[in-house]
Symmetry: C2
Subunit: 487 residues, 2 copies
Amino acid sequence: MVCDFYELTMSNGYFKKGLHKKKAYFDMFYRSTPDNGGFAIAAGLEQFIDYIEALRFTKYDIEFLRSKKIFDEGFLEYLANFKFSGDVYGVPEGTPIFPNEPILTIRAPIIEAQLIETFTLLALNHQSLIATKANRIVRAANGRAVFEFGSRRAQGADGAILGARAAYIGGCSGTACAVSEQIYGVPAGGTMAHSWVQMFDSEYEAFKTYCEIYPEDTTLLVDTYDTLRSGVPNAIKVFKEVLIPKGITNFNIRLDSGDIAYLSKKARKMLDDAGLKNCKIIASNSLDEHIIQSLLVQGAKVDAFGVGERLITSKSSPVFGGVYKLVAIEDEAGNITPKIKLSDNVTKITNPHFKKAYRLFDKNTNEAVADYICVHDETIDESKSLKLFDPNVVWKGKVLRNYTAKELLVPIFKDGVKVYNSPTVHEIKRYCKEQVSLLWDEVKRFENPHIYYVNLSEKLWDVKQELLKQQKGNSENNNNGINLGDK
Amino acid sequence: MVCDFYELTMSNGYFKKGLHKKKAYFDMFYRSTPDNGGFAIAAGLEQFIDYIEALRFTKYDIEFLRSKKIFDEGFLEYLANFKFSGDVYGVPEGTPIFPNEPILTIRAPIIEAQLIETFTLLALNHQSLIATKANRIVRAANGRAVFEFGSRRAQGADGAILGARAAYIGGCSGTACAVSEQIYGVPAGGTMAHSWVQMFDSEYEAFKTYCEIYPEDTTLLVDTYDTLRSGVPNAIKVFKEVLIPKGITNFNIRLDSGDIAYLSKKARKMLDDAGLKNCKIIASNSLDEHIIQSLLVQGAKVDAFGVGERLITSKSSPVFGGVYKLVAIEDEAGNITPKIKLSDNVTKITNPHFKKAYRLFDKNTNEAVADYICVHDETIDESKSLKLFDPNVVWKGKVLRNYTAKELLVPIFKDGVKVYNSPTVHEIKRYCKEQVSLLWDEVKRFENPHIYYVNLSEKLWDVKQELLKQQKGNSENNNNGINLGDK
């Protein structure tokens, strides 16, 4: 029942009109990358799969819908027996993705395809958003560990729990969110809040007690009262009194307020002077990719970062604008009719038809050079050169030779049955790192990234132009003599 | 188990040190208002209450924690029998709230108070964020209905479902999210997507079919192909052919792309010329309070708004920065010791002690003039004048006469038992509207709103100054001879 109400009204309409057995093709794709980035990271497929497998309407749901008094009894009965029976093709989680290429393609009877719209979008939009942001932050940290700390500022519990999962896929080393480990295996950890320090008569006593209980890889939060005059000196004292005598050398301090660049350098000096060169410094407090880059440029002595609200909400760009659009219908004989949506905003015009998508790699460098979207029955022959052209500026093009082509979407469901084995979250994280490494550096930079080429095949381009022409003709013959004014 | 891992490590530590029966006081408050607004709207209390009542650790949770190999068996046994036994005071949902005043105060044994930190924050932060944003958007719409349409762009399913609840509290008229009606009673509705129009051989046929199935209060989406050349003319034709003959006059069109100001005026003219003056125009597509204000300034002919991603994520300001801080501890004899957190950022210094908060209203105008935070054992005598002063600039002050004082926080739990009856979501929405109407217009404007006065009592101010002095002294005596450098 996590759906938009219009999916129910439309489905009831399809049912009443006997259209509900007609098969429709929907694509999910997105139009622009958060933070004006060069690419996004796909995530959320596993939750989509779980949803499709569990999707049923309970007696309670049917009662609720009946109470609205607009739904046909036959339709309610249909819902009571509902089970997804369609095919799904999807991009594996952790894959870099680009605007206007299909991330997910659904082929299913129209009602089934329509009813799953909202959850499908929200699952993939949310986690792709956070995985994309996490990947930016992790790249900014340049090899240093980044921990996800943002549960308390997440937009709801799912935002926290699945956000931690997506952050891990994007490259974070772990999370503070305990339940994300329990459910998804995302490594969770944490040590103390300011309240721990306040609960004791002194900061020294609070630190000492903590190190006695948790001697291994402990982290002391040093900014409750005064970082340099109290926190760091007390931490040094306790490390020397409690841990060093036991031969323990893996311990850390955390800076959570103030001028991190300044404080980290001062704290580093104090730790080094005390002979604690091994003590690591963790920084947190309103960090994101830009502040982390700036801290590193300033020579801040930070070994790891904890990132909260700016990651878990993707604060600077908190929406992943994935959409779900009808691209074709199929009659009972299996004939596919491509469909287009025009819109008054040119950028909102869709790519029609049941499609395939390839990523093309240069055989010499192994780098991804372009993606290539074609009609479902086209194939790429790697032994032949491939003509690429800009779908918006068609005279701009090039001929690609010596490449490999890899299909982006893989089968997920066939006739409602899952045919895909979800990798573990650790495998997805590794896959993501590897795939991002195959992108050009110019696509990865934060400022004005290079726009990666997403090309259409000639056949697909022709289908699109034909539909545009057709539809334009329809509209012009269709205004019923009403004066449209002068625009 | 929706908690940050450090809450578990700290709690284990308190347990081992025998501190777990010590009572602590925590305040939840926020530091700055999203979108630089003049006030926020409290929401999420009902979900906090449900959480506290349901809070248990299952066998599965205990097994998971045991597997981490850092928790004491006695502590795990304590968790297995965990039940919240504390007192809670909270601001009712729908109340306008201001920075640095308590929204929620917890008095409970330290472990109980610590373990609920993350969920408490995320529940109240999330819904307060969305209720606050919705209230801004509804105020911008100036009496026109605003519908929440954003589920697909929400940050997770809770973001969608509870976001719709919060948006309704903040003033929206309804939501597209079906399950929010089912669970929370938020009115849900919706009509058609572009896919409905695409499924038929023509837009005309799609519209006609829809109006036949749903003749009452129907809304046709007119931008699938060409708003003015195809969508509006087809809608007019269908309204006249199908609905007018049946005597039905409550129907609408929806514009979802293009230049809404221009298109709405043109569409209005076309509808009026066709004799359909009663047909309402609904607009959607990346709206927020600023775009709605601008559309109305431009004279757009829009009767209702559908708002998606910019509301459900509070896109322009997607974090509500509520925090949860220890403010006092209580010994077994019932003596309360106030606690403070200093921090290197002055704005992060907390207001110590177990406190009460009052809203003061001018008896003549009934307007809210200031909030007043005092120590728990202070009371306000309305028959006497009240001295107010700026807690940061103490020579700025005034004497208030002829006022009424209303306590902001009400008892929610007493000894772990709920003592509060949650109002319905409809009652909360009405309460919110009424309470916002008592605020000065200057506090409600979007640009540079007046900063509403949140004052401390003299007694509370003295407690805070005393703790600041004390703590500063501690830090200075505490640096163990380590060279701090020149800052």
